[in-house]
């Protein structure tokens, strides 16, 4: 009996020692400063810094990159997606050609890299919020109606500029213009 109790105690303590650094690591690797180490995201960071989600609001409440760009349906999915992103982006950062990526074009894929579970983990009752404007309530009802169907849409389907103050494209164009005619002017603004 004593032996069993000792085993349980030691196992619990070891488990705690394992969980604690994992939790700490996940916490410390969830903000834009860490993400920017490997992710090519100067434009994303710049536009995020202007948005209410970065804490630019009276209440001081802020969201981190992972709050929107990782799934929050389960811890396993969160960690797996985080690891996958880290590996892929890290590889591109060190061995690939990040300058060749067309970020403006990739904006159209926002439904794939913005997770509803992230939005709804904070905006928990937004779909039933009677204080919203009429059109917002109508569109949220539409969203709920499409859930689970082939035509399912995401929060980011409509909320195009959320989290980046509607300026993400501006920042991307500022750094790498889609149309060449803007290049000279953008270089001047960048001080090159």
């Amino acid at each position: 009996m004593k032996k069993l109790a000792l085993i349980i105690l030691v196992a619990g303590f070891c488990g705690f020692l394992l969980v604690l650094p994992t939790h700490y690591a996940l916490e410390k690797t969830s903000d834009d400063k860490f993400c920017a180490v490997c992710h090519e995201m100067a434009a994303m960071s710049a536009s995020y810094a202007k948005d209410t989600h970065s804490g630019a609001n009276k209440s001081g409440v802020s969201a981190k990159c992972v709050d929107c760009h990782l799934p929050h349906t389960s811890l396993a999915r969160y960690v797996l997606q985080k690891a996958k992103n880290g590996i892929v982006e890290g590889y591109i950062h060190f061995f690939g050609d990040p300058d060749s990526i067309d970020w403006v074009k990739n904006l159209k894929n926002r439904e794939h890299y913005v997770f509803d579970s992230g939005c709804l983990s904070c905006h928990t009752k937004v779909l039933e919020n009677e204080l919203l404007p009429t059109k917002a309530k109508q569109m949220h009802a539409h969203y709920k109606e499409l859930l689970g169907t082939q035509k399912e849409i995401k929060c980011a389907s409509c909320h195009v500029g959320v989290g980046h103050n509607f300026e993400l494209r501006n920042e991307l164009e500022y750094q790498k213009p889609t149309y060449k005619i803007y290049e000279k002017k953008m270089k001047e603004l960048r001080g090159e």
Binding site: K135, Q138, M139, H142, L146, K151, I153, S157, C158, V160, G161, F166, E167, R169, N170, E173, Y174, P177, Y179, K180, I181, Y182, K185, M186, L189
Partner: protein, 127 residues
């Protein structure tokens, strides 16, 4: 029982045909089609007969797209060349939406009326 099944199939077929007919006669832009919007989502309080619907005007468009200033802000990078169609040097953010944008037919670009050569350098096709 057989009659009920046949009736149901007939109803579904009619509904499908009607839906297809509407989508051909009144096509949506890809981004709106992607959202699976229905007629009433834009044509609010205009009855049930599509052929009698009227243009929704700025108020209708901006019920979702918020404001002309916000739309101009999203293309603020174009201001460096004064080429932002939503914030032009001529009109600022005051143009009517349907001066360029059309939902059920091809959109146009009012800028082309004078800047025929420059427009293709400034921007893409009007959505």
């Amino acid at each position: 029982m057989i009659k009920r099944v046949l009736c149901l199939l007939f109803c579904l077929a009619c509904a499908g045909f009607a839906s297809d007919e509407l989508s051909v006669k009144y096509p949506l832009k890809p981004h709106h089609e992607h959202l699976a919007l229905g007629c009433a989502d834009c044509h609010e309080n205009q009855g049930d007969e599509p052929s009698k619907f009227k243009a929704i005007g700025d108020k209708g468009c901006l019920s979702c797209h918020k404001s002309k200033k916000l739309l101009a802000k999203r293309l603020e990078f174009m201001d460096v060349l004064k080429a932002n169609p939503h914030n032009s040097v001529h009109d600022g953010p005051t143009l009517y939406c349907d001066e360029c944008h059309n939902e059920h037919k091809e959109s146009t670009n009012m800028c082309l009326e004078c800047h025929e050569h420059e427009v293709k350098e400034w921007m893409g096709v009007t959505p």
